[in-house]
């Protein structure tokens, strides 16, 4: 079981979820259900997820069957570099995308399926040998979260003070820089293997 690349199944699941989101969204919008604007969102989110997940990533071992016509989408997806290559980012992205669709019954199935795909991607991001221990990744994530929190706090302080004192501005700079540095460090780590052919 150790050699199973769960990300391949996560990819199929996410693609299916995208289609389900689109269908649910169309039903909600066409039927003008209550709060149908969530349905409109769901269509857009579904299309985005389908386009992102259509190119099948390259397997670590063995040959990979490309999906028909995937090379056109691959060139677009590759432009975003580490944002689309990293499975952490995908997991978080899918989770965030699925949340708004959960407010409408017609699209709640899409939410559940996309959340499951996100969960599988998250599992893949943590290498099996390090599961249960705090890994370098997790430390980086924790640092990044701290950095982001610092940045947010700094921005709030900024708004409150409204340029009232220079010392606050000076305080703002280090925490934002910290957040930025940690974000770059996390994203540029990338994923162990190149997900495209």
């Amino acid at each position: 079981m150790g050699q199973i690349e769960w990300a391949m199944w996560a990819n199929e699941q996410a693609l299916a979820s995208g289609l389900i989101l689109i269908t649910g969204g169309i039903v909600a919008t066409a039927g003008r259900f209550t709060q149908w604007y969530f349905g409109a969102y769901s269509i857009v989110a579904g299309v985005f997820v389908c386009l992102l997940e259509y190119p099948r990533g390259k397997r670590k071992k063995g040959s990979t069957m490309e999906r028909w016509g995937q090379k056109y989408m691959t060139s677009v997806v590759k432009l975003f570099g580490p944002l689309t290559r990293n499975y952490y980012v995908r997991a978080v992205l899918h989770l965030l995308l699925s949340v708004p669709a959960g407010f409408l019954l017609a699209t709640i199935l899409g939410t559940a399926c996309l959340a499951i795909a996100s969960g599988i991607y998250l599992l893949v991001s943590v290498p099996p040998a390090h599961r249960g221990k705090r890994t370098q990744n997790q430390t980086q994530v924790a640092k990044c979260v701290c950095g982001v929190k610092c940045a947010v706090r700094s921005v709030c302080a900024f708004h409150v003070c409204k340029w009232s004192s220079v010392s606050r501005l000076i305080d703002l700079i280090p925490s934002s820089c910290q957040a930025l540095i940690w974000a770059v460090a996390l994203f540029s780590r990338g994923h162990p293997h190149d997900p495209w052919l």
Binding site: M1, M8, W9, E12, A28, F33, T34, L109, C113
Partner: protein
């Protein structure tokens, strides 16, 4: 075109009947719910989507009944055995069980989509009619109380104005089981795609057991009785056609029409799925019982190219040529069962399998058997199960094509022929066999070499050299090998295999082969058997159609493919 019809008429008929039944059930249920008086008031709120949902529900029941049947392997083997007097065409249909299982699954997915979309509209309409305060018919119907003591029975499942549809979905049995069933179905389908199944079989196998949730959910889905129709007495007291217009006066005592009363429909899904579930449970119990029988490993042989041969014995085990067994090794993985074709002949006093390293489980198994100083791991066996190769001896002329490890069912057949010759079995219908083995690397030949060498000798001794024609094709050749072969052209035996028949390089030209066979046997029925990749199946099938003559008395090629 004519040949295609001759070969596939039974499949087409079977699928037409299945599709026809689906359409009939859908239309019948749709019309029933669209026109019945019972549902007159329900239709006032919901419109046609009620009939849509119920029609797709009936089709779902029908297809859920069918989906478990093609995977009852023991049942199919039993049918194949008892049907030996049936025509070849009928028995061939049992080969396509997995294709039928997939078709039924697609139909279930389609009807699930229709059912869910229809019910989304239904819930939305129920919600709107509950919110309505204009005193219209729908609002009065929706306000019928859920409290039985107030003397009325409800129609709208949404009890209160502030109840959201999401709340009703997740607190009603129908809604909750529906969500669970659909998620289980989606997970089963995404993990059963060709790519996932071929590359990571365990993901498919374990996830597919979510069908238990699907079946359980289906059984209790209708318990809540959310689909409401007017009771018989209520219709007798005041027929909806007469009383619907006077809905404002239902509360008046002097009005002849009283408030209508409704009752829920009893669940009927369990009636459809009960029998197949019992059959499937029996199937699993039988598989478990057979697997518990003791298996004695008599010989372990490690061949080059990481091929492991296991020779085993089991009490009461009897097999036919080309059958397969499921093997489980508890020390490697307690729940995984993998299929392997038997490579021994029925005439031998043991049965054997050849296992090639092609994934997690097989590599671990080979490694476990390679350990010299630890005890041999215990093996459990279930089977044997029958496939198309059993039919080889029914054809006068047989063309056997094996690609790589796909030669295993034919190893069994060739060995069986050897034994039949030794016993001078005159009941052998087969008069000629053409055997093609296509392989990528030379190392894989070695374990089969002994068999072919002894067969060559056997044929010579009995003077029946023409009975077995075999050709070996090496597709992974390079200039070194070819150069070497060219240098040794004059030698009597082949330098790679040591056999009298020389190895050919590259892929066979099937058109040439088929036209030669067609000209040599102008009046025979030729069975073509393949164990190999889909692309090869396509070209062989095309050749079978092209070279079969339209006249049924002349040469006919029938194509059979192993489906793992």
């Amino acid at each position: 075109m004519g040949n295609w019809v001759v070969n596939h008429w039974f499949s087409v008929l079977f699928l037409a009947v299945w599709l026809g039944l689906n359409v009939f059930l859908f239309v019948d249920a749709f019309l029933k719910y669209e026109t019945a008086d019972r549902y007159y008031y329900t239709r006032k709120i919901l419109g046609s989507t009620l009939a849509c949902a119920r029609a797709s529900a009936l089709c779902l029941n029908f297809n859920s009944m069918l989906i478990l049947l093609p995977v009852c392997r023991s049942l199919l083997s039993f049918l194949r055995g008892t049907c030996s007097f049936c025509s070849r065409t009928l028995r061939k249909q049992l080969d396509h069980n997995l294709t039928f299982h997939k078709l039924v699954a697609y139909m279930i997915c389609l009807h699930t989509a229709i059912h869910i979309i229809a019910h989304l509209f239904n819930f939305d309409r129920y919600s709107r009619s509950r919110q309505a305060t204009d005193g219209s018919l729908v609002s009065i119907l929706s306000s019928l109380s859920h409290d039985e003591t107030k003397g009325g029975s409800w129609l709208n499942p949404i009890q209160f104005r502030n109840m959201t549809v999401e709340y009703v979905t997740f607190t009603s049995i129908a809604g909750l089981t529906g969500v669970i069933m659909t998620i289980a179905l989606i997970l089963m389908v995404t993990s059963a795609t060709e790519f996932i199944r071929r590359s990571y079989f365990e993901v498919f196998w374990y996830t597919h057991h979510l069908f238990i949730f699907y079946i359980l959910g289906l059984g209790i889905h209708g318990i809540g009785g959310i689909v409401r129709g007017q009771t018989e007495e209520s219709i007798n007291e005041g027929h909806p056609h007469k009383c619907a217009e006077y809905f404002e006066m239902w509360n008046n005592h002097d009005c002849r029409c009283r408030r209508p009363e409704f009752e829920g429909q009893p669940p009927e899904s369990w009636k459809w799925i009960l029998a197949p579930v019992i059959l499937y449970i029996c199937e699993r119990i039988l598989r478990f019982y057979r697997s518990q029988q003791k298996v004695v490993i008599t010989k372990v042989v490690m061949h080059p190219s990481k091929v492991l041969e296991l020779q085993m014995n089991k009490r009461g085990f009897s097999m036919e040529v080309g059958q397969y067994i499921f093997v489980n090794c508890p020390s490697i993985s307690p729940l995984e069962w993998h299929p392997f074709t038997l490579t021994s002949a029925p005439e031998e006093d043991f049965f054997s399998i050849h296992i090639r390293a092609a994934g997690d489980w097989t590599e671990n198994l080979i490694r476990a058997f390679e350990q010299q100083y630890s005890p041999i791991p215990r093996i459990e066996v279930d089977g044997p199960f029958g496939t198309a190769s059993e039919d080889v001896f029914q054809y006068e002329v047989a063309v056997l094509v094996g690609a790589g490890i796909g030669v295993t069912p034919f190893a069994s057949i060739l060995k069986s022929i050897w034994y039949k010759f030794q016993c001078a079995d005159h009941n052998l219908k087969t008069k000629k066999i053409y055997f093609y083995w296509i392989c990528r690397e030379t190392g894989a030949f070695s374990w089969f070499n002994d068999l072919l060498t002894s067969l060559e000798k056997e044929m010579e001794e009995l003077g029946k050299v023409g009975f077995l024609n075999y050709r070996l094709f090496l597709t992974g050749w390079d200039s070194n090998i070819v150069g070497h072969a060219a240098l040794n052209f004059d030698k009597a035996t082949d330098i790679l295999t040591g056999l009298k028949q020389k190895t050919s390089f590259g892929r066979p030209m099937w058109d040439n082969e088929f036209s030669t066979i067609a000209t040599s046997h102008p009046k025979s029925v030729v069975g073509v058997f393949l164990c190999g990749p889909q692309t090869l199946a396509k070209s062989l099938r095309k050749c079978c159609h092209r070279y079969s003559s339209l006249d049924p008395r002349k040469v006919q090629f029938y194509f059979n493919k192993e489906n793992f």
